[in-house]
Symmetry: C2
Subunit: 140 residues, 2 copies
Amino acid sequence: MEPRITLITLGVANVAAATQFYESVFGWKRTADSQEGISFFQLNGLQLALFPTEDLAQDARVPADGTGFKGFSLAHNLRSEQEVDALFLELQSRGVIILKQPEKVFWGGYSGYFSDLDGHLWEVAYNPFLPLDEKGNTAP
Amino acid sequence: MEPRITLITLGVANVAAATQFYESVFGWKRTADSQEGISFFQLNGLQLALFPTEDLAQDARVPADGTGFKGFSLAHNLRSEQEVDALFLELQSRGVIILKQPEKVFWGGYSGYFSDLDGHLWEVAYNPFLPLDEKGNTAP
């Protein structure tokens, strides 16, 4: 199995509201093949999908009930502490729910967290030990 | 904010056991800068991290308690139904917990689901409407 992820699907309570959040707060644009029941965003070689939580559970044949911590996070890495601060200020001005303001962290980086409308965690970080290539991809 | 994800962190009960699963079942190799408390896998321009669930929650300043459906899935797309079947057979022979055998789905594709040791959902799919480039990345 190749080391590759093609799609991350986030279960959401309301596809239209979640799409509006990712479009207006992140400034991302859903793809043309998005539909009323599902939105896609083209990212760096993979897509992010927003799909009703119940439908995702049903598609995977698992119970849809779940509460509390979802046990995962998505991160957007930048190239300096200043870039992290600037993005946080921008996101905050657009009304995201800040969970942790950016700060120096024990592993030597600098990071903060916020949440989307459905409680999915996003980290914005500068990690001096994780080089990014000219496009912003992680470079081994 | 660029349309980009750099890191997906999965909360796990036991980093060593989870790492062993991803190495032996998926055949992925953790990066050299992985440590006892965290494992990284270099994927297509982003990394996957395995990190204790409690530590991830603490890092994000959210309560660590959570039960049931985690509300997200990761997908590995392939180029045909045959490739999906072949990978499922391979994964099954290595003991993954199959949630749904691959089958034709309403949106016109072919997909199945399995779970990792911590209940994170993986979909293996063929989607005729999502073109992949020569490397296997989603191609807009």
